[in-house]
């Protein structure tokens, strides 16, 4: 059997794929957080809960309405995004003039409430969600078996991240977003409805989380705690990439997923902590994050 540094190739590629899958979720989730933080100055602790909500909306659509995976992929982000818009208008918008800490506390509280409600209703054992038939099965590659659904998750996540990045960097809408992130007062003084932008941006950012939730549903079971588990890691990713850096969050998300995968192969004991160790090192050396601008 082929080995590399004494590790079977098969195990190596298997873990790299797992890392890439995790990285896909880190990337979409930290992208949403970065956009929201950049424009709204809100550290959105509810992000994990809204990701979980995306998975639950997919499950509910299937269970109560009979709409399958592909419908959910389109509808769940809309539902979560609309929910986010209501949250922003009713609660979060009141905090913009205050310190970051208040936004963090509010969204943390919201996360606990949302998770609590789902836990009450659905328990914590997790609900199954089947892989859509179009994506069942897999490919036999030289060194590993590649399940189609997992390949799809990576492609879908990359596509959404790149599309989001293109919209932000290359379109007029993105120019407004970048300008308002830099100097909202001046953009407003040009006649632009900045508050509306903030609302829609929050809605879009959490819709990304909802989308990630649907992608995750067939891989992890649909569980009220799924968001709480991942969000801590995602926050570490955002800190490493640099709060508010769009491209940084995507690159860091995928890279850290891979790093985590490699650690599982070469030093499994550290795989749960490696991201946090990197976070500490980055904070010591470059406090604004790898892609962050030092203010």
């Amino acid at each position: 059997m082929t080995t590399i540094f004494g590790v079977p190739m098969q195990a190596l590629f298997g873990q790299l794929l797992l890392g890439l899958i995790n990285g896909s979720f880190y990337a979409i989730l930290s992208l949403g957080l970065a956009i929201i933080f950049g424009l709204l100055n809100i550290i959105n602790f509810a992000h994990g809960a809204l990701y979980m909500m995306g998975a639950f909306v997919a499950w509910m659509l299937l269970t109560y309405v009979g709409l399958g995976y592909w419908w959910a992929l389109g509808l769940a982000p809309l539902v979560v995004g609309a929910f986010g818009i209501v949250l922003e208008r009713v609660l979060i918008a009141r905090l913009y003039k205050l310190d970051h800490l208040y936004g963090l506390l509010l969204t943390f509280g919201l996360a606990l409430i949302i998770q609590g409600l789902f836990r009450n209703q659905y328990g914590v054992s997790g609900l199954p969600y089947a892989i859509p038939t179009e994506l069942s099965g897999g490919q036999r590659l030289p060194f590993m078996f590649l399940p189609n659904y997992r390949a799809w998750v990576v492609v879908a996540s990359l596509t959404v991240c790149i599309a989001t990045w293109l919209v932000i960097e290359k379109t007029k809408l993105g120019a407004y977003l970048r300008a308002a992130t830099e100097n909202p007062t001046l953009v407003q003084a040009f006649g632009v409805n900045v508050p509306l932008f903030l609302t829609l941006t929050y809605g879009f950012g959490v819709a990304l989380a909802g989308f990630a939730g649907v992608l995750a549903a067939p891989i992890y079971s649909v569980n009220p705690n799924m968001g709480a588990d991942i969000i801590i890691v995602v926050f570490a990713v955002v800190v490493i990439g640099g709060m508010g850096s769009i491209i940084g969050s995507v690159i860091t998300g995928f890279t850290l997923g891979l790093v985590e995968g490699l650690t599982k192969v070469f030093y499994p004991e550290a795989s749960a902590t490696v991201i946090f160790v990197i976070m500490v090192l980055v904070l010591l050396v470059k406090p604004a994050g790898l892609f962050g601008r030092t203010a």
Partner: protein, 242 residues
């Protein structure tokens, strides 16, 4: 005590009456009275910290707290959000220029939405400021100070705004650039734009303005028609402490 014509009766494009303004708790404007007629260029003169920038910020609506009356084109704006004030046709060129680092020169130029018909085309703006065309793809803040000022003015000319608030457009710029900006302002005046110009250099202002309002500690203490500027030069020196 100076008599002040009520807003409704002046026939001015912009009428500011008893304008007060605050930064948090600190009370900075203490009753500013200004009126500007259509097509006029007026200046706000005054020492550092007199309240000139704050007056412009109050007019465009980005000062946290303001009171009094600001009527533009018949509309009372004192309680309006700045985005709606801008949409009446007022363009703001801030003292710090406000060029966005995350936008290219072209994106900066295209950012402010059109608020009224009749704004300049991009081609016209490029004729006015050829440098902006050459550097269209550069990062906005990579431009020289003079070019950033041209960009800050140019992007407002696109919007169709008829009243332009210019805060120290020549500050820190080389004499040739100052002349170019002077010529631009003259050209704009000839095209019928109305301009409020904040300027430290009243010799420069003299070549452009119709009237000068002198601000001291948040109040208008004098108004000098341009024709009488030379006759009042000693008084003006005293006001400005030069």
């Amino acid at each position: 005590m100076k008599t002040v014509t009520p807003a409704a009766a002046t026939g001015a494009l912009l009428t500011v009456r008893g304008l007060e303004g605050w930064y948090g708790e600190s009370h900075v404007l203490h009753g500013i009275d200004i009126d500007v007629r259509t097509g006029e260029v007026i200046t706000l003169l005054g020492r550092n910290g007199a309240g000139k920038t704050t007056t412009l910020r109050a007019i465009i609506g980005i000062l946290g707290k303001r009171a009094g009356s600001i009527v533009y084109d018949g509309v009372e704006t004192i309680r309006m959000a700045s985005r709606n004030i801008a949409r009446l046709g007022i363009g703001y060129v801030p003292e710090e220029r406000g060029i966005f680092a995350s936008l290219t020169v072209h994106e900066n130029l295209m950012l402010p939405p059109r608020v009224k018909p009749g704004g300049m085309s991009v081609a016209e703006i490029h004729t006015l400021f050829p440098n902006l065309k050459e550097r269209a793809g550069s990062q906005g803040t990579k431009l020289s100070g003079g070019e950033q000022q041209m960009l800050a003015i140019g992007r407002i000319l696109r919007t169709g705004a008829k009243l332009i608030l210019l805060d120290e457009p020549t500050e820190g710029l080389a004499p040739v650039i100052v002349q170019q900006i002077g010529r631009t302002i003259q050209q704009l005046k000839a095209q019928g734009y109305t301009i409020i110009l904040v300027e430290q250099n009243f010799r420069f202002a003299q070549t452009l303005a119709d009237r000068h309002f002198v601000i001291e500690q948040g109040r208008v203490v004098d108004m000098i028609p341009n024709a009488e500027l030379d006759a009042n030069i000693d008084k003006l020196h005293a006001y400005l402490g030069v």
